[in-house]
């Protein structure tokens, strides 16, 4: 569905050349849900804007929905849906008017556009808002309307740029329900950017980690964790040194034993049983499973969470 080769984009800012995307080669199959994860300024949006023809690549190539973004941008635009970071609807326009206009821009007749708009307003919980102006909608309603606008022409591929940024947790979960339902019903390929770790972790089947304009990891979230970060088990025991000797791994930290290992959740019960058989009393056992933030930390030496908070 998407195939890019060494895609690059540079900007000139005050005389200096900024490389926003530095040679990204990516392949996305039909029906995948891919999250592009990275800190602000990593090049996620620039990548997305090239794939949606809003920005021409400086070099490299990209085929999206089977069409080259440089040779036939209009062909790409026909096949994809795009939900940008801003609000799609004009703030003074009415909700239904904007949906029908969107359909018309893709060649739908007014009647067909009205039908489709009705369908989407039903599935995206926007019923009753037809005649409201966009500016009077709540943040969550507005975002669902953005998605409705992006879906008016039945795109086979949907791009979402930071779809849930700034939303409260409930509205975020609600939007995700809709996206999940959409995929279940239509097999639409979805590519989204996010800097929310939990979101990428919980929702995407595949995570592409981008930093400084490059893909630094690309796998399922479990795979990423297994490959790039370790789980941690911390045991509170009487004689830590003895326990380390017994287990043959781990290190002493005060009255605790700390172990770094993979697949800790599966290994912990056996470990505890062994200590029990050896007559060692364990007062408490803490399990810290590696998070995507640990993955990011391992890959870049920086924490994504702190960067997100600082931005």
């Amino acid at each position: 569905m998407i195939l890019t080769e060494d895609l690059r984009r540079t900007f000139r800012r005050r005389g200096a050349v900024v490389e926003a995307v530095r040679g990204i080669s990516l392949r996305v199959e039909r029906g995948e849900l891919v999250a592009v994860l990275g800190p602000n300024g990593a090049g996620k949006s620039t990548l997305l804007r090239m794939l949606t023809t809003l920005l021409a690549p400086t070099s490299g190539s990209a085929r999206v929905a089977g069409v080259d973004v440089v040779a036939d941008p209009t062909g790409v635009r026909r096949r994809i849906g795009y939900v940008g970071q801003g609000n799609a609807g004009g703030h003074n326009h009415r909700v239904l008017d904007e949906l029908v206009t969107q359909g018309a821009l893709y060649g739908q007749t007014r009647a067909a556009a009205r039908r489709r708009a009705g369908e989407l307003m039903e599935t995206l919980d926007l019923r009753g808002l037809e005649r409201r102006t966009v500016s009077s909608l709540s943040g969550g309603q507005r975002r669902r309307m953005d998605v409705a606008i992006g879906l008016m022409h039945h795109p086979e591929l949907l791009f979402l740029d930071e779809p849930t940024t700034g939303m409260d947790p409930q509205a975020r979960a609600n939007l995700w329900e809709h996206i999940t339902a959409l995929r279940a019903a239509t097999d639409t390929t979805v590519v989204l950017t996010t800097h929310y770790l939990e979101e990428a972790d919980a929702m995407a089947e595949r995570i592409v980690v981008v930093d400084h304009g490059e893909v630094i990891a690309d796998a399922g979230s479990d795979d990423l964790r297994a490959r790039h970060a370790e789980d941690r088990i911390v045991l509170e025991v009487e004689r830590p040194a003895e326990v380390v000797a017994l287990l043959g791994e781990g290190s002493v930290a005060g009255a605790r034993v700390e172990l770094r290992l993979a697949d800790a959740a599966r290994r912990m019960p056996g470990m505890l049983a062994r200590l029990d058989r050896a007559g060692v009393a364990v007062h408490a056992a803490h399990l810290h499973e590696a998070s995507l933030d640990d993955v990011f930390l391992a890959l870049t030496g920086r924490s994504l969470r702190e960067e997100g908070a600082a931005a």
Binding site: L54, A65, G84, H91, N92, Q102, L105, Q108, I149
Partner: protein, 269 residues
């Protein structure tokens, strides 16, 4: 490597293109007027204000001689129509500034819409009230003994429409260039629009002005449009001023579309 794409059978779609997209964009903008007709009512009052407050002063301070032998109203009212078009289409880019900030401009760019259609559709929206305004002016002038030729008014509006699309596109390009800097848009717009207006002889005749102003007027495309409107409104459709005005309007339109489309194509970055 080849990727095959399953094309969905779309039975209820029609081919899009410049004309259809222009209509779609025009309707999108015009909907705002229809949904909130008060703005339209006020814009209709505008020509009447000029008719009531400016024309009497003009009549008192200028002789028919200075106006080329015409009555003040016959001379003045076509200028008012041009002025309304000038301010209307000149602000096309201002409406865009807000959409640039909120994201709906980007959404339109992500659709397969024809790029020139975005410019023309928006400029036509600013021009649409002009038709009604011109009718009102024509009717309001009747009690003062001034009769405009309906066919002439129609020709005049056509020329003005072509000019307005060009000016609207230039305004749009200015809007894109001053993204996130609203003051820049208005600063540049006002700096340009008033000299253009005064140096076209729209409100006051330039015949009594210094030679340099008259010289400046000859390179101002708006001068030719204003002269064409004056000739057209009186029904003098064979007057060469109409041809000159049409040429000036066409050149403005072509320049506006070239500059405007280039701005749209570069704006996405």
């Amino acid at each position: 490597m080849s990727v095959t794409v399953a094309v969905r059978p779309e039975t209820d779609t029609v081919p899009t293109g410049f004309v259809r997209d222009t209509v779609t964009i025009f309707l999108r903008e015009f909907q705002l007027v229809l949904r909130d007709p008060f703005s339209l009512i006020f814009s209709l009052l505008q020509p009447l204000v000029f008719l009531g407050l400016f024309a009497p002063l003009l009549a008192g301070s200028l002789s028919a001689d200075q106006l080329g032998g015409e009555s003040p109203l016959t001379w003045f009212l076509p200028g008012v129509v041009v002025m309304i078009a000038l301010f209307g289409t000149g602000s096309t880019g201002a409406n865009l500034l807000y959409e640039l900030m909120t994201g709906s401009y980007e959404r339109v760019l992500a659709t397969p819409v024809s790029r020139p259609a975005i410019l023309v559709g928006r400029a036509l929206k600013e021009l649409a009230p002009l038709v009604v305004q011109a009718v009102i002016i024509t009717l309001a002038a009747l009690p003062f003994g001034v009769t405009f030729s309906p066919a002439g008014v129609a020709v005049g509006l056509a020329i003005l429409g072509v000019f307005g699309v060009g000016l609207g596109a230039l305004s749009y390009a200015l809007g894109l260039a001053s993204r996130n800097r609203e003051w820049l848009f208005w600063g540049v717009q006002q700096t340009l629009i008033f000299p253009l207006l005064i140096l076209s002889g729209m409100m006051l005749p330039l015949e009594s002005g210094p030679a340099w102003m008259q010289a400046a007027a000859t390179v101002n495309p708006l001068t030719y449009v204003v002269n064409a409107e004056r000739a057209a409104f009186t029904g003098a459709l064979t007057d060469p001023a109409i041809l000159h005005g049409a040429i000036a309007a066409a050149l403005t339109c072509a320049l506006g579309l070239i500059v405007g489309v280039r701005a749209v194509l570069r704006s996405a970055g």
